[in-house]
Chain length 258, copies 2
């Protein structure tokens, strides 16, 4: 089965890429002082990681395509065949400033359907995975299905500042919620919702590689993923993103976004 | 030396208290389903942890006083003698909702001067410590002194929603900054500044136990700790809090808060 082979190799490559990033961070700690140097190193790591995947994919699956942030893949507007959707380092500012709270994100789409999703929080040591129809996992432990009936008043929400500006009604939603959190990495904010650490995450502008894996993993535990207006989120198109547990998604849509 | 004895015992008790909280979280995972039960368990853990410290302190240092969130200590308005300033679980909502991103916070004040500070991120496995004049540490590794000349435009800032409402000029500051982060636990937000993961943290309303340890640790690496208007923060009084690296503190004060 090609998906099994993909899964096996994707895990190997993610582990290797994570190790390389981890070692690069050690270098930053030891050698690189100036902010400009740190920024360069990050850009280099971003590119090197994507190039690593591009070469591996071309070697092992020459018929597959890569949709990646750094442009080593192709211009892709359709999801025919098998497409690897990769963000080599999601949360670049965190990578530079915090040396944590970033992730490698990889989603595998086959004829437009998300089959496998991986988000690897390298420094946090959390490896999120889902296979369509077979559940989601963190470090091989099953992630429980999300509660269906949560309410906004009990919910932590993640709404970034761009979304506050683009959708002013989010301000009232934040007031009605239990609290606001912001972590600065879309993939990990998706995983906060998938693991129940937050009930909703709204972002103003995400790209395919930001959401390719997160959507697969979040939906596998019952999260609802749409645009802010409730319409379908087509992952090849940039735009706003709204992921939440079912009850909070319905409540936010009904009371704030319609 | 009494401070050495205090340090030795404080570490023992923090470790034991952390272990108990960790085991309680396992119980939550296993047994407790309903939110109401989870809330009860948290309240119980808060109280049990503070009571544990109250009893230990009374036994070993009967002349010391305890200033704690749960009221097992005394009504304290002055810092004469030795005062243990304790928050048994800072970040209670995170404790309930996320089972991470909370901390035990302990500051030791002698005649009003902060001598020892401890913040224990139990689930994250990070133990922050400072002794006045001898530097700050995380898991026994020295925390570097903060850069003096950072600028707001390159800075991540942590400004909670209550502070956004109380100080509307923070909104312009957030726009000028590189990004906004929110973690939901004052002690860990202090430590984000102390370790350079953010350059400023502004909160509208903190209590002595929220800041007792954080102030000691942050100041030891060169962070500036004041009220939002730049005046001295007396830790026995509730109120707003503004901790930042030196350059960003000066810039925010000059351009936004004066």
């Amino acid at each position: 089965m090609v998906l099994e082979k993909i899964d096996q190799l994707a895990r190997e490559w993610l582990e290797e890429a994570g190790n390389r990033i981890f070692m690069a961070l050690e270098q930053v700690n030891i050698e690189v002082e100036a902010k400009a140097d740190r920024n360069d190193l990050v850009t280099n790591m971003d590119r090197a990681t994507e190039r690593y995947f591009a070469e591996k994919i071309a070697t092992h699956f020459p018929e597959h395509r890569l949709l990646g942030e750094e442009g080593y893949g192709e211009e892709i507007t359709s999801l025919e065949g098998v497409v690897w959707v990769l963000d080599p380092i999601d949360g670049t500012v965190n990578f530079v400033e915090q040396k944590r709270n970033f992730a490698i994100s990889l989603g595998i789409y086959q004829e437009g359907i998300g089959e496998l999703g991986y988000i690897y929080d390298v420094v946090g040591g959390e490896f999120y995975f889902a296979k369509r129809g077979e559940g989601a996992f963190v470090n091989d432990e099953p992630i429980p299905m999300l509660a269906k009936e949560n309410k906004l008043e009990n919910a932590l929400v993640i709404i970034n500042t761009a979304a506050m500006h683009k959708f002013p009604q989010t301000l009232a939603a934040i007031k009605a919620a239990r609290g606001l959190r912001l972590y600065g990495a879309a993939t990990l904010e998706y995983m906060a919702v998938a693991t129940g650490r937050a009930d909703a995450y709204i972002s103003a502008n995400l790209s395919p590689w930001d959401i390719g894996a997160g959507k697969i993993i979040a939906e596998e535990v019952g999260a609802i993923v749409t645009r802010v207006d409730g319409s379908e989120m087509v992952i090849t198109e940039k735009g706003d993103s709204f992921v939440a547990s079912p009850g909070v998604h319905a409540e936010l849509l009904r009371d704030y976004f319609r």
